[in-house]
């Protein structure tokens, strides 16, 4: 079971790096979907106790929302907006990957330094959680398109989810449901907003919306 968890965590790290490095929007959505799927499965494997119905329900919900519903919504927004690539991000692909690796190193250092790293395979879980969160933040900060930013928020939410599993073990049901619901509504609203922004402005470049100030 430990081996499986570690495999999943390593896959999460890889998806993060792919998200950071990629610039095809359909690909990005797919990577985020895979990451959501992995993150949703993790609670099932992370704890040695028996599979309760609650745990299964939670995992199923997380997988359904993060792995299926969000990607579908975003894919639809993408088709309507009719764009394929993240052109000219603030930070280029190569440098982004470099930043991603730095963030990974920083996450490991941070979780050591915080002194809350636990024994066993959980040692890996905490830095991966941090890394995922920071990846999300980095996506939000460094990309032009509103859609990539929504993806950034989703990735950040995955990170929070992982951190929650690592620190609290079984995240209180209500809290997790709340976070999921928040993310769902956020994606939903952003999807609609992107659609409207695109229709009004003929682009969904957040950078250009700075003109709207005042």
């Amino acid at each position: 079971m430990n081996a499986w968890s570690e495999l999943i965590l390593i896959l999460v790290i890889l998806t993060n790096l792919l998200l950071v490095g990629g610039n095809r929007l359909t690909g990005l959505i797919r990577f985020a979907a895979v990451q959501g799927l992995l993150a949703g499965l993790l609670p099932l494997l992370a704890h040695s106790q028996a599979l309760t119905a609650r745990l299964v329900f939670l995992a199923a919900l997380a997988v359904a929302l993060k792995g299926v519903a969000f990607p579908l919504l975003l894919g639809r927004a993408l088709r309507e907006a009719d764009i394929r690539r993240e052109v000219e991000p603030f930070v280029g692909s190569e440098f982004s990957i470099f930043v991603g690796i730095s963030l990974l190193a920083f996450s490991f250092w941070l979780s050591e330094w915080l002194g809350i790293a636990q024994a066993g395979w959980l040692r890996l879980m905490l830095p991966v959680g941090f890394f995922t969160m920071m990846t999300g933040l980095f996506l939000i900060i460094s990309r032009h398109k509103a859609l990539t930013q929504v993806l950034g928020y989703l990735v950040m939410e995955n990170g929070i989810f992982l951190l929650g599993v690592a620190l609290v073990g079984e995240v209180p049901f209500i809290v997790e449901l709340g976070v999921l619901l928040d993310a769902f509504v956020a994606v939903f609203v952003m999807g609609i907003a992107i659609h409207h922004i695109n229709r009004e402005f003929n682009h969904m470049d957040v950078h250009l919306m700075a003109r709207l100030k005042e």
């Binding site: 603030f90 330094w113 460094s142 919306m209 700075a210 100030k213």
Partner: protein, 650 residues
């Protein structure tokens, strides 16, 4: 107490019903019944001096639903409900032209809620409840000020009113939190027992916080903006009653703090003199009738502050007669001002309603078309100038008597007494000039613009409230000597014992004067009757006014409002700083010439505008933070959080 609760309930419920059901008549009926019930609640404490209280638990932290009507509260409830009811009747006629264009139920809700919140302000005995009512009062009146929100000036006036009100409330919150932290409770009855430095600071906070609402100079800047913008019945209620809530709050805090050192009284006297003189000077320079009345409110608040300041001096220095005369004069003038100022605002509203303009320069000769309004306005003008035998005289007379008494009693009070006497004399003279101008230009002579010819008298619903207010002015003016017993009860909470009047001779003086006025009035009436009898049966012709031998006088050759005020304005030019834009005629065959004068408010121009500009300049330096890039906002947030994390753990 049951009457008060009934009144509050009826006012709020009827207001809400008027809004929801869109029936104005419900709002009017509710206002009348609610105000009548409110008057009934004020009657017992005023008649007997017994206060009644009600205290219910309230779920708000530190709050309790603690109400009490003592004689002082009842004294403030009296003008509130009287003016509230009369203005409501007036509103029914006044709002008629707006009826087609917009639903008015909302206005009635805000009006009734304003009356209810003011009643709560003067009866609340818990700071949380008091501030809640205070805020409700500020908000409901704000919505009434922006009644004509489609007009830009009304919106701007509303904003300046809202900002000023909240700045004042900020001081009040500090005041009550301070008082509460010392007392360990936010109940008014627990406040007090403070060392003198804290008490002094608290008094200053109250003076600024409540003074903003009352309109002390230079905190008055919202007044000349908000009053002209509001509908006239609201102006009447706001100027007649609402600004007095500031005075009430100040007095209530004064009661909590105790007599205090003498400088409180000196400060109040100084504030009163400055507000009074500057208020009336600026009133003299205005050409908007309601703006003029708003500045005149500043003046009258000054007179009230002067009286209260003398009363505080009397308390601090242990001169009971001075305390009694000062407080009584101030409070009586407060009641009087509520009556004649609302009368004048209603009159001004009638003029605006019928002539379509409030600009004095355009009006003229309205007395022929609107004899009733002219008569009521004249009566109010005479009263506000402090001329006998009307009520304005009585209040100012008591203050003058107090000043004289104080000046004679203690040597170093002579300066205060003399200053007060000189100030009231100056204010009275200037007020007479100001209201001669207002009445003379608006109602006498010939219309100054052609379009004022279609003017007609206003309807009964607008005339009756003015008649009642005018009658009250006369009644208080002539009935003053018989008000002393009630005055004792009202002054009780202020620490003035019954019988403090002894030795001041106020009562004897007033009685004598009243008999004199009654006699003169009788003689005048008899003379008028005799004249009528003499003229009976003879033909009476009407001719033009003497025209200096000029063949074809036109209405443009009359005195204008500016020319009437010009000598006084140029005398006080260093204070007023009136701007003149004069285009003199040139050439051998002179063309048209032009003169325009405006008198912007000195406090807003010299004090508040520079302060706001400095603040804006300071804050503009942080504008680079608002760059509009979402990415950078998130980066800033992330970096801040990271720095905080490292700082906290490092």
């Amino acid at each position: 107490m049951a009457w008060l609760l009934l009144s509050l309930g009826i006012l709020l419920a009827s207001g809400l019903a008027a809004w929801v059901l869109r029936r104005e008549s419900i709002g009017l009926a509710g206002a009348l019944v609610g105000c009548a019930a409110g008057l009934a609640s004020a009657a017992a404490p005023l008649m007997t001096g017994r206060s009644c209280a009600l205290s219910l638990p309230w779920s708000v932290p530190y709050g309790s639903f603690h109400l009490e009507i003592d004689a002082l509260s009842a004294f403030f409830l009296l003008p509130l409900f009287l003016v509230g009811a009369l203005s409501a009747v007036y509103a029914y006629g006044y709002l008629a032209p707006y009826r087609k264009s917009q639903p008015l139920g909302r206005t009635w809700f805000f009006y009734n809620a304003l009356v209810a919140s003011m009643a709560l302000v003067v009866t609340a005995r818990n700071a949380v409840l008091f501030l809640t009512a205070w805020e409700a009062m500020a908000l409901t009146s704000f919505f009434l000020v922006v009644f004509e929100s489609e007009r830009k000036d009304a919106r701007e006036a509303g904003w300046s009113y809202l900002v000023a009100g909240h700045l004042g409330t900020a001081f009040l919150i500090i005041l009550f939190v301070w008082l509460g932290s010392r007392a360990g409770s936010l109940e008014f009855e627990r406040f007090g027992n403070l060392d003198s430095r804290a008490a002094g600071m608290l008094f200053l906070l109250a003076l600024i916080g409540f003074g903003t609402k009352a309109g002390f100079f230079p905190l008055h800047v919202w007044l000349p903006e908000a009053h002209p913008a509001a509908p006239s019945h609201v102006s009447a209620l706001m100027s007649g009653v609402m600004i007095k809530m500031g005075i009430y709050g100040l007095l209530r805090i004064y009661i909590c703090l105790g007599p205090g050192p003498a400088w409180w009284g000196w400060l109040m006297v100084a504030v009163g003199v400055v507000s009074g003189v500057l208020g009336v000077l600026f009133a003299l320079a205005q050409s908007d009738l309601k703006r003029l009345l708003a500045y005149s409110s500043v003046e009258n608040i000054g007179i009230i502050a002067l009286g209260l300041g003398l009363g505080m001096l009397g308390r601090s220095l242990g001169i009971p007669a001075l305390a009694a005369l000062g407080f009584a004069g101030g409070l009586l003038h407060l009641l009087n001002h509520a009556l004649f100022k609302s009368l004048l605002f209603l009159g001004a509203g009638a003029v605006a309603h019928s002539a379509g303009t409030r600009d004095i320069e355009h009006l003229g000769g309205l007395a022929k078309a609107m004899p009733w309004t002219a008569g009521f306005f004249l009566l109010g003008a005479v009263a506000i100038c402090g001329l006998p035998p009307l009520n304005g005289f009585v209040g100012e007379f008591l203050i003058l008597l107090g000043a004289y008494h104080g000046a004679c009693a203690v040597g170093h009070l002579a300066a205060a007494g003399a200053a007060a006497i000189a100030a009231i004399a100056l204010i009275g003279g200037l007020a007479a000039a100001c209201f001669t101008r207002a009445f003379g230009i608006v109602f006498l002579g010939q219309p100054r613009r052609r379009h004022t010819e279609s003017i007609h008298e206003v309807g009964w619903s607008m005339r009756i409230p003015m008649a009642v207010l005018a009658a009250s002015c006369v009644a208080i003016g002539l009935g003053a000597p018989w008000l002393f017993a009630s005055a004792d009860r009202v002054l009780g909470p202020l620490g003035v014992g019954a019988g403090s009047w002894a030795g001041s001779g106020a009562r004897g003086c007033l009685l004598g004067l009243t008999l004199l006025w009654a006699g003169l009035l009788a003689v005048a009436l008899a003379a008028a009757g005799f004249r009528r009898w003499l003229l009976g049966g003879r033909p009476i012709g009407e001719g033009g006014t003497w025209d200096c031998g000029y063949d074809r006088p036109s209405e443009r050759m009359q005195y204008t409002a500016s020319s009437f005020a010009q000598p006084l304005i140029s005398l006080f030019a260093p204070v007023l700083r009136t701007r003149r834009e004069l285009a003199t005629p040139t050439g051998y065959y002179p063309g048209p010439a032009d003169l325009a004068t405006t008198t912007p408010d000195i406090a807003s121009r010299r004090l508040f505008s520079p302060a706001y500009e400095a603040m804006q300049a300071l804050l503009a330096r942080f504008r680079w933070l608002q760059h509009g890039y979402l990415q950078l906002y998130v980066l800033q947030l992330a970096v801040t959080l990271l720095v905080l994390l490292i700082w906290k753990l490092g």
